[in-house]
Amino acid sequence: MSWRVVAAIAQKDLIDAIRNRYLLVALLTPLSVALLLRVMVPGIEELKNLTVVVHDPGRSTLVAQLRAIPRMKLVETDSEANTKAEVEKTDANGGLVVPPNFDADVAAGKQPKLTVYLNNNKNAVEQARFRVVMERQVAALVERPPPAELNWINVSEETGSSTAGGINISEMMLPLLVLLTFGMTGALVVPLLLVEEKEKRTMDFLLTSPARLTEVIAGKALTGVVYSVLIGSVLLAVNRQLVGNWPLTSLTILLGLLLIVAIGLLMGSLFRTTMQVNTWASLALLVLITPSFPFLGSPKVLDVAMRFIPTYYFVEALKMSLAGTNAPRLWGYLAVILGCIVATFVAVTWAMRREQN
């Protein structure tokens, strides 16, 4: 394999792709969505006018921390019973009930229970902002594992539930955005790069030049990888607070983007026209990003079906690495992704050689 040839093809494609308006839009769309997410779920330092009703008889460190956050307004109540009513009355983002001996329990390694009321009259974004603040402040009390269990309760409901407060937007959105980014680049841009070479007959030129078929494929893959890495890096940089384990997350993301680029190359090797790519790649993109959707309370059959989509393993591995988990299951997922990458690249080479002859 000549890296000079691979680099020449990738360099040409990197420049040529951004001159193609269609490809440019495909590259910039996930980036725009990522920046939008940043605006929707900002960091704590950027939060504005967050009002929380607190009942804190023991004068805990947690509430002191909350008080120190700029633009955080705390409304104190004299009893646990009044907290919920005060949330509704003051239209606060939420309420917090801290047990009297909270700091001592945390220091003793116990997991004291905090009751957090969430005002579900607020929109999903505001709820998510409140949720992010609370989770981060609790996590900041000590290193992992979390020192306290947050018991979320919607003020209009009487019973607590694990999904109260809605979905954690940032946790849900990041895998979706990463997959969308890689999908747009890998499953849309990469096949178009390959199909355009066939459609415009420039592939004939490439294959009469010293470039070998494997080098052409590698050049296209490198283009997809470079764009995915660039956009993926921006995506992670703006959501860096959500990354629990950087080395594992980086490895997972590298394997994930290689998988999707390989799928894109396979589509590019099977299709002959840009119209075919535009038609089928959108469908493929939808299938590829499906595992990143939150199927809350969905039937088990759907979960089983997801396992037939290779990106399911990427999403699961990404969620685990973002959460800082280093479980054997994560390595199993990564192995599945690696296997899919190898199989797909073999299929691409076979399909291209077959077409060439």
Partner: protein
């Protein structure tokens, strides 16, 4: 010394015989014409000889390389101008050539030389999508010349071009031939082949049905004749291959009745029709 040696070369696509046991040689520095109808197998032959397509049977050596097993050694030795204008349209001429130079490992300084050679230096920064067909064709030739190949395959290089640009391309081909580059040319235009090629091969349904110099083909297959205009205004056409032609001409000249006398030769087109059964444009 031969640049191209082909022996019994064949190619089949899903049972269809595109090229059927063709054999020929092309000498170094020769301009060789490969003529035939659409679908006769010209482009398939070029694709096999340039290492893009594996032959089903037979052997071919191009620039000393076996096209089946030495494709990697072969590719830097040949240049191909495709029948399609396969340029990167969103890139400038210079960018197209720079990309080709990187692929071939050719020096970037060569870009200006070839742009000068095809008279595109002043438009080098323009995007190719703004070029006329003639300019694109010249750029294709520049790209094929960039790495100084020994052999250039030109697949219909003047098709669809206006006569002035066609003449410019023919001038380029002649210039390359004088520099010692072997040219393998396919064309629909018989006059072009007649003007440029030392030898031509007629291809019909995948087979070579004639191969010789244009002159010999015309002599062997065409009709030579003389058109005579008499002082009465009457015109006569006398076929020179007829045995009685000499006596008839002698009578005309000695009889003092002759006003003008013009010889006519068969064209390559007529020879092709006679051999292949129909013209290239049919």
């Amino acid at each position: 010394m031969n640049s191209i040696e082909v022996d019994g070369l064949s190619r089949t696509f899903s049972g269809l015989q595109a090229v059927d046991r063709i054999s020929f040689t092309v000498a170094a520095g020769e301009v060789f014409g490969f003529l035939g109808h659409n679908g006769a197998g010209k482009t398939t032959t070029i694709r096999m000889l340039s290492g893009q397509l594996r032959p089903t049977a037979g052997t071919a050596r191009v620039a000393g390389c076996d096209v089946t097993i030495e494709q990697e050694r072969l590719r830097p030795l040949v240049g191909v101008v495709s029948e399609h204008q396969n340029l990167y349209e969103r890139m400038s001429a210079r960018e197209n050539l720079a990309f080709a130079a990187r692929l071939y490992g050719a020096p970037l300084a060569r870009i200006d030389e070839v742009l000068q050679q095809v008279d595109l230096l002043d438009r080098a920064k323009d995007n190719v999508q703004h070029y006329s067909n003639g300019m694109k064709q010249r750029l294709l030739i520049a790209r094929a010349l960039l790495h100084r190949p020994q052999i250039i395959f030109l697949d219909e290089p003047t098709r669809g071009l206006d006569p002035v640009v066609g003449r410019e391309i023919r001038r380029l081909v002649t210039e390359l031939a004088t520099q010692g580059v072997t040219i393998f040319l396919t064309t629909h235009y018989m006059e072009e082949a007649d003007e440029l090629c030392r030898r031509v091969a007629f291809l019909s349904e995948g087979r070579i049905v004639a191969l010789d110099t244009p002159e010999n083909l015309k002599l062997a297959h065409g009709q030579r004749s003389v058109n005579a205009t008499l002082d009465t205004g009457q015109t006569l056409t006398i076929a020179l291959d007829d045995e009685a032609a000499g006596k008839q001409l002698e009578e005309l000249v000695s009889g003092g009745r002759l006003r003008t006398l013009h010889s006519t030769e068969a064209t390559l087109e007529e020879v092709f029709i006679q051999i292949a059964g129909r013209g290239l444009s049919e």
